[in-house]
């Protein structure tokens, strides 16, 4: 589950991580109230207005702007809320902004220069351990840092039997070139950040930038936080942090009926049991000259109700020109699935795109017979290649 910047920062703050403070606002008026409140709380004179959407690169798309007084707060918040923000991580249509974070200005001048770093906490899949990845090159796209100056990216892996040790936090602060107060602040920042990561059952923290202020404080100016969905059962208070407006509405609907669906840009819809077979089926569609319109795993019970729900979801996409159903019947018998397809088809009335059904496994022959005799406009196949050939034929 992905969180907004303001939600991620709230979680960090709970565990003692210093953050750039801010107040979320749903409209320009609320933004002004938030700004006044923020000044009385923090003394800030300027404000940063930040679009709250689940996408990186917000600044590049005009979603992060500095406001030097309350008039500007009102004006900028009004501009950003409701805009379709296009960033390198969104589609060409962009993402609609529903709310902004009014944040304190933390780049104020002072005794020393400000400095920006990069820091993330994530799983190292190769070792099965968490690691802290960090760099002196903050505020930039980390992928390009990794490409151009890989020697400026450091990692610190955490032994799960003891957790993050103080010497590791010190090593990070040394590698970032810090000394004095900033050094001490950074060791505290790193250890509380790691505690927050573990205690919140997150699967990704990305703090970019981590700022050293002119008065040597270390703080998170941005926060990308992803919570492990599998662990949400022990964090009931996080469940309502999910912002469904940020998710694809068809995917949300699919999830509600227990289907694992990912919306794609192609023209051939598919319905498959099992994630690996679903991806393989998408690949085969491409090789047959089509483009997959979706990933859809119907799971272990492909009965009429689920098949019907899957049909409805696939057909919401007007780009779909054909549907390929590929089920490997193991424990689920193919004739049952075939009957499910027939019943679902009949319940739906007319489906205006060609359907190719490939059922393999237990009772595959019986299933083919059922489909062939149903009188419906459904083509059956038994072999994987045969299904691909039929997709090719209907697209031609």
């Amino acid at each position: 589950m992905n969180l907004h910047e303001y939600q991620g920062k709230e979680i960090l703050s709970t565990f003692g991580v210093r953050i750039q403070r801010g107040i979320v606002a749903q409209n320009a008026q609320e933004a002004v109230t938030a700004a006044k409140h923020l000044t009385s709380e923090t003394g800030t004179k300027w404000y940063v207005i930040k679009a709250q959407v689940h996408a990186g690169g917000r600044g590049k798309g005009g979603g992060v702007k500095l406001a030097k007084n309350l008039q500007e707060v009102e004006q900028i918040a009004g501009q950003i809320i409701g805009m379709n923000l296009v960033t390198p991580q969104t589609s060409a249509q962009g993402k609609k902004v529903h709310q902004v974070l009014v944040a304190e200005d933390v780049y104020y001048p002072g005794e020393s220069e400000t400095d920006e770093f990069y820091m993330s906490v994530l799983l190292n899949r190769a070792t099965g351990r968490n690691m802290i990845m960090y760099s002196t090159e903050g505020g930039m796209d980390i992928e390009s840092v990794a490409e151009k100056t890989p020697h400026l990216i450091f990692t610190e892996e955490v032994d799960p039997s003891v957790g993050l040790m103080p010497f590791q936090a010190r090593r990070i602060a040394f590698n970032l070139g810090l000394s004095g107060t900033a050094f001490k602040e950074m060791t505290k920042f790193v250890s509380s950040l790691y505690t927050a990561y573990v205690k919140s059952d997150s699967s990704l923290f990305e703090i970019n930038p981590v700022l050293k202020t002119s008065d040597n404080k270390i703080m998170a100016v941005d926060a990308k936080v992803t919570i492990d969905d599998n662990a949400l059962y022990r964090h009931k208070d996080y469940v309502n942090l999910r912002d469904l407006r940020e998710e694809n509405p068809i995917e949300v609907e699919a999830k509600e009926v227990g289907l694992n669906y990912v919306d794609l840009d192609g023209n051939v819809g598919c319905m498959v049991n099992g994630a690996g077979l679903a991806m393989a089926t998408m690949d085969l569609i491409k090789q047959a000259g089509g483009e997959p319109a979706n990933f859809l795993d119907v799971g272990g019970t492909a009965d009429a109700a689920r098949v019907e729900a899957a049909f409805k979801i696939i057909l919401k996409d007007p780009a779909v020109k054909a549907i390929l159903i590929n089920i490997f019947g193991g424990i689920v018998r193919c004739d049952r699935v075939a009957q499910g397809v027939i019943d679902a088809y009949k319940n739906m009335g007319t489906i205006n795109v060609p359907i190719i059904v490939r059922l393999q496994g237990t009772n595959a022959d019986l299933a083919k017979e059922l489909i062939d005799k149903s009188g419906l406009d459904v083509q059956s196949a038994v072999e994987f290649q045969e299904a691909a050939d039929k997709v090719q034929a209907v697209l031609a």
């Binding site: 799960p160 022990r234 690996g276 077979l277 991806m279 089926t281 290649q385």
Partner: protein, 292 residues
């Protein structure tokens, strides 16, 4: 020969009396698998599916001689179940459970590191040695006995591959479903190594998907091993866009080196026979075996 499980394996089912455990345990018994009992805390002393129920895994080891376990325990309790099996001295722990929190698996990985056991999964279809032992949720009839080993992250794609191999008149030594989670007990490399070292296995089918480094590691190991035993490979997810998780928590393209194309290139450079079409796995196996 075969690997991991055979007719002499003494298998227990953890989460035996639950609905999943009951259903699949009865399928396993029907297949002829040597299930010696099950574990459900608090139900020790009862009989389920004509087999004894034990309170603890240790009791199952001491009283029934269990050496292999299959776990159907719900995700919140699965990590504890794996560690209990490891602590009791179980040698092969096969975890079917899907949805275990990553933080729990980090603890499991650390805990079992120095224990003499092998974990398969989690979030996997299990392991089958045809005509000897089905320790998983796969449809047994698809897997006929033979000379081809299979390693795969996914369930139905494993059945698909096995079916294609069998339709070529060939069969399977052991099929290992390693699972699709970010942290798994047995990697592609380790599973491939087991099968390459199995004298009865004449060829290995290795099925992977986008995300992670498992297939690249296996390919590099294979190249360095100098083995002459052929591997036929397929990677699912060529059409999956970057940054989106495709069903399995581990199936997500993070960087340029875990795309399907990048993996296939490494595999080809390591001498693996890679097919681009998932419909050609069986055909390729037959072709490669015929050319030996």
């Amino acid at each position: 020969m075969s690997v991991l499980v055979n007719k002499d394996s003494k298998i227990i089912v953890q989460g035996f009396t639950g609905s999943e455990g009951t259903f699949h345990a009865s399928q396993m018994i029907e297949y002829g698998t040597n299930v010696v009992g099950g574990v459900t805390p608090g139900k020790g002393g009862q009989t389920h599916l004509d087999k004894p129920v034990f309170n603890t895994v240790l009791e199952a080891v001491e009283k029934a001689g269990a050496d292999t376990s299959i776990i159907f325990v719900p995700p919140a309790f699965a990590a504890d179940a794996i560690m209990e099996a490891a602590d009791a001295g179980i040698k092969v722990i096969i975890t079917i459970t899907e949805g275990i929190p990553v933080a729990d698996m980090i603890k499991v990985a650390e805990y079992i590191k120095h224990k003499p056991c092998r974990l398969i999964g989690p979030n996997c279809p299990g392991v089958i040695t045809p005509e000897e032992a089905k320790v998983g949720i796969m449809p047994g009839f698809v897997f006929k006995k033979g000379k081809v080993g299979i390693v795969s992250k996914s369930g139905t794609l494993t059945y698909e591959a096995a079916d294609q191999v069998v339709k070529q008149g060939l069969g399977i030594t052991t099929a290992i479903g390693i699972g699709g989670d970010p942290i798994i007990g047995t990697t592609t490399k380790q599973a491939v190594e087991l099968l390459i070292n199995d004298p009865e296995t004449e060829a290995v089918v290795m099925i992977g998907e986008i995300g992670g480094q498992l297939e690249a590691d296996a390919a590099t190991w294979y190249k360095n091993s100098g083995s002459k035993k052929p591997i036929i490979g397929f990677i699912a997810g060529e059409t999956a866009p970057a940054g989106r998780t495709m069903g399995h928590a581990g199936a997500i393209v993070g960087g340029s080196d875990d795309t399907a194309q990048a993996k296939k290139k490494i595999m080809r450079n390591s001498g693996i026979h890679v097919v681009d079409s998932p419909a050609e796995i069986g055909k390729k196996v037959a072709e490669v075996l015929a050319s030996l």
